[in-house]
Amino acid sequence: MKTTIKSHIIALKLLIIVFFILLSACEENLINEYQLFVIPKGEHYCNYKVEALQENELSFMAILDSTMTYTSVEPINQHDINKLYGFSDCNDQHHENSARFGWRWLNDTMEIHAYFYQNGIRSSILLGSVALNEPHFYSINLLPNVYSFQLDDNPPVMVDRMNSCDKGFYYKLFPYFGGDERAPHDIVIRIKEL
């Protein structure tokens, strides 16, 4: 009986070891897939997640599809900028100092904006437009005194970074609908961090 248990334990150990060796060896990297973010109808936020930025560049590919087109109830709200992806600056709330990409569906065009807070003051700069259902490249570089936004091969757009803190918690900011209004239908966004 004791021998049987011992052999079972050895077999279990071998199985676990082989399983982890297979996972940990072979391919150099784990496969980086597109992550799906869904903002449900009637909501502002997508699936809840907390994640820290871990390098001074946030680069990603994103696919925006027809679910991201919408008509606002109040026509003036069509000009509101929705948020795509970005981060809050060192130890600051995102309404104090942060850098994100924003998007809005305006005049049948998907506009992409640099959307940022500088010491509590919100600003945005139109970076360009993107085609639906196609992957596009987005990048925010966190430099000592500036945020550098880049969309596809367009020249980078630099904005002043007001936060002088260096060491701390930089949390990522995930897709958000609004503005004033909530998502009129389910909105699906695919993002793959590079």
Binding site: I9, L12, K13, I16, I17, F20, I21, L23, S24, A25, E27, E28, N29, L30, N32, K49, E51, A52, L53, Q54, E55, N56, E57, D166, K167, G168, F169, Y170, K172, E193
Partner: protein, 143 residues
Amino acid sequence: MKIASTLYLVFAFIIGQAQNIELDIQRQKTIGGVEYGANVLIAKGNVAIGYSIQDSKRKATEYSDFNHRFQGMILKLPIRACENLSLFFMPRIGFVAEQFFVVLPELKLYLPLIRNIDLNLGSGIRYGQPSFSLGLSYSPKKR
């Protein structure tokens, strides 16, 4: 100064209470590539605290100042500790690139290989995605 003194006293107390020391090396496969790390832990019973360092094989180039070196504190908290197989929760708290504060949770399975040496197999979160690690642990005093 007060914080430093308090930390010093806490660590001095822990070291004074310590019954064992443990050295780990590990290879972690992450979404950002393979990383190699080492931990030095001081333990009392099955609970341990220590210093952890982990770095990537990828190096800075003229186009990118790639730096994903993690340095910080590691805790080893038992979930189930048995003679043949032990499971620990081993969160690491520290900084990446000496700038970005992170908490890296990981579950690790310890399997005794030979006297004083365990094989450890881990699964955790790195760069917000699942990661897998494989390593060896050396402890002069066997549990």
